[in-house]
């Protein structure tokens, strides 16, 4: 099931309309153009669903004054939304006094027909029938909770959002992992801050159903780091940590605190992708951080293979020319965000440039030289 992400005059985005297909896609563009925001929108919508509009938007945006694109036309209203299958959910975040409105305008369409419609305020209509919304909740949440019919229509979209995770490589808590390990838990899913990594990996090894997750991570790590052989999990009290075995040295265990940052980063990225359920959606912002170019190439190949086997959608926001080179033969999977203020973004590279021309170059080279996704100059 494909995911669509939408935004208008939201933060740095002018007009985003992104149909994301299954498989691995890259999004590239200059700093500040809104790549991370684009990846964040499904997460925002999930939090709107689970925590209500005010809490979600305050958490992600920070304040009402920041919601709307700073150079949006006077009177323009910002909007964000997602679509899954034939259902699209759009929200118009708005200020209320100094804060963010708890009852923004919302609309859900199914094949162009409005099925949930809420003007800014407490009331909304589902299938034409008026209902009252609790102030802190979204209309979609109330509809799903209160109406079995609505639940059956909206559940695929809600499930897709619940299964969406955005991992920001720069917010992984590496220091804590290295020094203190993970708190023991029954988690099967890597948290977005990465802190439960060792606990999740160990849990995967314990059950037959999840052991393939661990095997995927371990096998990929062996390719990324030729010296790596295996991991031992160790629990002391409520803390799980790991030691690393090196090839040909079964007698020597290296504490993970002594491993390279890139080693831990790769482990986290692989665990992030392995966490996703079949047909799930994972986004990783700046996966290249701390990784040797060769390790990044192998990582992307492993992610691509996993996505293909499990029907995953994987979105990677990057500035890495090495990552781009891995897509030389797939320019249709490279999405370019630029800030021309007019064009609907992002644009697939295969639409932005002639594929016959692109075939003569390494995409990383073109990106480096500003042929696409370049900062504005002058």
């Amino acid at each position: 099931m494909s995911l669509r992400i939408f935004a208008r005059d939201f933060l740095a985005l002018t007009h985003l309309q992104w149909d994301v297909a299954k498989g691995v896609s890259l999004v590239v563009g200059p700093n500040g153009v809104g790549k991370t925001t684009a990846l964040e929108i499904p997460e925002v919508m999930r939090h709107v669903y689970t925590h209500g509009p005010t809490a979600a938007l305050e958490h992600h945006v920070g304040g009402a004054a920041l919601l709307r694109r700073s150079d949006a036309p006077e009177g323009a209203r910002c909007a964000i939304g997602v679509g899954v299958g034939d259902v699209t959910w759009q929200l118009e975040p708005a200020a209320a006094g100094a804060g963010i409105s708890s009852s923004p305008a919302e609309v859900v369409r199914r094949a162009e027909q409005e099925i949930v419609a809420r003007a800014a305020g407490d009331e909304f209509a589902y299938a034409g029938e008026h209902r009252l919304v609790a102030r802190s909740q979204s209309a979609v949440r109330v509809a799903v909770d209160d109406d079995p019919d609505a639940e059956s229509v909206l559940q695929p979209m809600v499930s897709a959002l619940e299964n969406y995770r955005l991992y920001r490589s720069y917010t992984y808590n590496l220091w804590k992992l290295q020094r203190s390990g993970s708190t023991a838990s029954t988690n099967q899913w890597l948290h977005v801050n990465g802190e439960n990594l060792f606990s999740v990996l160990r849990n995967w090894t314990l059950q037959r159903a999840t052991r393939p997750h661990w095997e995927f991570v371990r096998d990929a790590m062996r390719e990324l780091f030729p010296y790596f052989d295996d991991i031992d999990f160790e629990q002391a009290g409520q803390t799980v940590t790991v030691s690393v075995f090196r090839k040909g040295r079964p007698d020597v265990k290296v504490p993970v605190a002594q491993e390279a940052t890139g080693f831990l980063m790769a482990l986290l990225h692989l665990a992030a992708v392995a966490s996703a359920p079949p047909n799930g959606i994972v986004a990783i912002d700046e996966p290249e951080n701390s990784l040797h170019p060769r390790a990044l190439q192998v990582l992307l190949e492993a992610i691509r293979e996993r996505a293909s086997q499990n029907g995953l959608t994987v979105l990677l926001a990057t500035h890495s020319t090495v990552a781009l080179d891995q897509f030389n033969s797939m320019p249709e999977r490279v999405f370019v965000l630029e800030s021309d203020g007019q064009t609907v973004q992002p644009v697939a590279l295969s639409d932005l440039r002639n594929t016959q021309w692109l075939a003569n170059y390494a995409l990383g080279d073109l990106y480096k030289h500003g042929d696409f996704g370049a900062p504005s100059e002058g």
């Binding site: 932005l352 002639n354 042929d371």
Partner: protein, 282 residues
Amino acid sequence: MTRSIDRVTLIVTGSAEKLGLPAALQQLWPDVDFDAQLTDDLTSTEVPADSTAVGGGLVSKFEKFAQRLVDAVTVPRSRREGCAGLAVGIDDLELVNLDRGEVVVARLKAAVDQILQGRTGDRNTVATGCSFHLLVPMLEALFFGDPKALQHAAGSGASASTFPVDADFEAFAVGDDAYLEPSDEVGHGWRRPDRSRHPKRYIRFLREQAEEPPYRETHHGARALRELNWESLVDAPLRGRFVGSLLTDLAFVLGDPVGVQLPLDTSPITWTPQHDPLLRNC
């Protein structure tokens, strides 16, 4: 022989050229659109005469440059743009290669020839539509041929530089004692052994002396280039001959430039039109 050309694509190797050269040339041919594409430079290290192919799927700098040049007139970059009517590759001939201009040109031509193997139809397009030129020893030398450009690049006090404005900037050399005096002092990026013949380092020195902000190619260099007075670069015999080659080549297709009198002295390295050429100019 002039042709109707709407767009000229410049294949350049520096940010200042990318940002400034289209506007600079448009001064001379106001009816023509110039755009610029950036690629890796060719001459920052000594260019060997031997063009042994780079193996293992790696592409040499010359191959990349040649591909850009050929594609500009044979493969549309996007559906909207179409091919350029004319493509001009331009790179510095840096100090380390100053006596190797012929080698640089030969290597580039060999790479173009390689790309055109089996593409008979494109050979003529490239021979009439592509050329390759050199800025000697680098873009910043041109600013020493135009007092106003030098002020944009090196700061308003730069007219007091010891490089005479009527000297040949392509044979740049300064005898400024303050610039050349030996020193153990660290922290000056311009204090390198080859600085007497290095115009960009001298510009950095001049800005430092004048307590101006450091030289930025994308700002100071691009502005100096955009407003360059071409006429002052080629107003004396045997001066700016590589620039003369560039302008002569363009004038051959685009017609007489505004404000520059032809004919100009040219360099035989970059203006040797041949009977059966690979590129337009060499």
